[in-house]
């Protein structure tokens, strides 16, 4: 979790990832942020995130993103 949080903070500085459970629903992240985050996750974790995975439930919180990564790694 800490490693992902650090990656996210480096990728999109200025966004409080740890303090929100509704990053998409509350429009804290926009489409550009999402694509930047997706690229960073794919490069770092070696997973393939497809367009179909780009739903709010997968990106609303750090825990949700970690869950997505773990599912794709399984």
């Amino acid at each position: 979790m800490e490693e992902l949080l650090q990656l996210l903070t480096e990728t999109c500085p200025g966004i409080d990832f740890a303090g929100s459970e509704a990053l998409i629903d509350d429009e804290i992240l926009d489409s550009l942020d999402i694509v930047t985050i997706v690229s960073a996750i794919m490069d770092t974790y070696g997973v393939t995130i497809s367009v179909d995975d780009l739903v709010p439930e997968n990106f609303n919180s750090v825990a949700a993103m970690l869950d997505l990564i773990q599912r794709l790694q399984a």
Binding site: D30, S31, T36, S39, M42, I49, D52
Partner: protein
């Protein structure tokens, strides 16, 4: 049948009465009948295009749903092995649906332009038949293709009943100018059973009246002056050109957002909550935010079906890796995404029509937004060095004014007849700005009186005040409900009187189409 015609009001009145009288299980069928009657009234023979799009995307949805179902039913191991083959077939279905429907859209909307450019450049004689443009073709094509792609992605199961799907594509309030709906949001509402809710009916009527106020009192009125200047654009000074473009900006906003208010109001009267298409773009602090607030459903469509697939494609990912390796820093991180953003805004530009001015409009928006993204690190450093309150009201007002100015310049391109004219008008605005033309009576030579200008100005004050209240979190119609019965009655009657007395109706009035209907 224009929303602003008496025929439409009668049509709507009869429909609403029948809608709540027929057995609820037939409500969707009544809406389908009404939608096709509405389309045939305005679109005539071009209904054939609507039918082609409806049938082809319905079929594509069914095929994709079948493939998804069959794949899901396979045992895990077999599913994994056969997934690539299923994916390939699904892609073929989507490709066929896109080629047919976007191909039709291309022929109808862009072929004349292509033929003209090719013929001028090469001396060929490509035929350019004058095809009749189907009503709302861009809107129903985009909406249907969105449905096909969602079926491809397995977002939901396809609609199996052709008639019910046909209602989703043809629903009459939205077919002229959107909003571009998603099936999972609109479909269940269209097909659901609705009981008469007096509050919803009242809210719907109020929202329609607000839309009519913007369209008939403001947009139609200022449109007279805009048309007069653009009919003889070189007969006026740069300042009058700027005034006409400002007038056009007001006209376009009140016309489009007013039309959407009527659309959503009609939906609400029928118990259907349609997607929001505007979120007070006047208050946008940047061009990116402006596009998130203006024509929201088109932006959302572009994001989900163009931006994400491009940005996450292997080509753009390779470009991203290249940029990170060679540029480094923030620039390296966002370079590929910025390029994808540019493509999206370029597509939005040409979505408006086939003309060099729309291509330029796409470049203008895409270029500015991309430059803003790439230069953001520099702006951050600059902001750290300049000691002013970056979160203060003054800075916010400046950002709003800056955004409005950028949008205003872009409007030259969307209203001028040709790109070269738009550029020359921008030049004239700077080099030939004559303040005295605002006081020497020129403004009164366009067919509007001083009273008309006051009506437009006060109308815009009302629109801005209402939007400011909404921007602060206020809900106008709920606020109205908190007043006494007399005040509530007055708040319905006064706008109605304003529309009747000051709206562009009465003798000699020709029900006007909405500007976005042509896109």
């Amino acid at each position: 049948m224009s929303f602003t015609s008496l025929t439409f009001l009668v049509f709507l009145g009869v429909l609403v009465v029948l809608y709540y009288l027929v057995p609820r299980k037939f409500q969707w069928a009544l809406l389908l009948l009404a939608s096709y009657a509405f389309y045939l009234w305005g679109g005539g023979k071009t209904v054939v295009y609507l039918l082609i799009t409806t049938c082809s995307t319905y079929l594509a949805g069914r095929l994709l749903g079948g493939l998804n179902r069959r794949l899901k039913a396979l045992p895990a191991e077999e599913r994994k092995a056969k997934k690539p083959s299923f994916d390939r077939r699904k892609k073929q279905v989507v490709l066929a649906a896109c080629l047919l429907n976007f191909g039709l859209l291309y022929i109808l909307k862009y072929w004349s332009f292509t033929a003209e450019v090719v013929n001028n450049a090469s001396g060929f004689h490509l035929p350019a038949p004058d095809l009749l443009m189907p009503l709302g073709v861009s809107f129903f094509t985009f909406q249907s293709i969105g449905y096909v792609i969602d079926c491809y992605r397995g977002k939901y199961a396809p609609q199996e009943h052709l008639g019910r799907y046909a209602l989703f594509v043809s629903f009459f309030p939205q077919i002229i100018q959107g909003p571009i709906a998603r099936y999972d949001q609109l479909g269940p509402q269209l097909l659901g059973e609705h009981q008469l809710d007096w509050d919803q009916l009242k809210y719907g009527i109020q929202l329609c009246m607000w839309g009519y106020f913007k369209k008939l009192v403001i947009a139609e009125r200022i449109g007279v002056m805009v048309n007069a200047v653009f009919a003889d654009v070189w007969g006026y000074s740069g300042s009058m050109m700027a005034a006409a473009v400002l007038g056009y900006s007001i006209q376009l906003y009140c016309d489009f957002s007013g039309g959407i208010d009527i659309t959503r109001g009609v939906g609400q009267m029928l118990g259907i909550d349609m997607a929001e298409n505007f979120r007070r773009p006047l208050f946008a602090l940047s061009l990116t935010e402006y596009w998130r607030r203006w024509h929201i459903t088109l932006g959302g469509w572009m994001r989900d079906y163009v931006f994400y697939p491009i940005a996450l494609s292997s080509g753009f990912r390779k470009l991203g890796s290249f940029a990170r390796k060679h540029f480094g820093g923030v620039m390296g991180k966002i370079f590929a995404t910025s390029m994808a953003t540019f493509v999206v805004y370029f597509v939005i530009g040409i979505w408006h029509g086939a003309n060099f001015r729309y291509i330029a409009y796409g470049f203008y928006n895409g270029g500015l937004i991309t430059a803003g993204l790439l230069l953001e690190p520099t702006f951050v450093k600059l902001r750290e060095r300049i000691p002013i309150r970056w979160d203060g009201k003054g800075w916010h007002l400046f950002q709003m004014a800056r955004t409005s100015l950028i949008v205003f310049v872009g409007r030259y391109m969307t209203r001028a007849p040709r790109l070269i004219t738009a550029l020359a008008m921008i030049r004239a605005t700077v080099t030939d700005f004559q303040l005295q033309s605002f006081t020497d009576g020129t403004l009164l030579s366009f067919g509007l009186t001083a009273f008309d200008y006051w009506v437009v100005a006060l109308g815009m004050v009302v629109v801005t005040a209402v939007e400011w209240y909404q921007e602060k979190g206020g809900h106008v119609r709920k606020w109205m409900e908190g007043r006494g019965a007399l005040a509530q009655w007055a708040m319905v009657m006064v706008p109605l009187l304003v529309i009747v007395l000051l709206g562009a109706v009465g003798q000699g009035y020709v029900a006007a189409e909405f500007i976005y209907a042509q896109f």
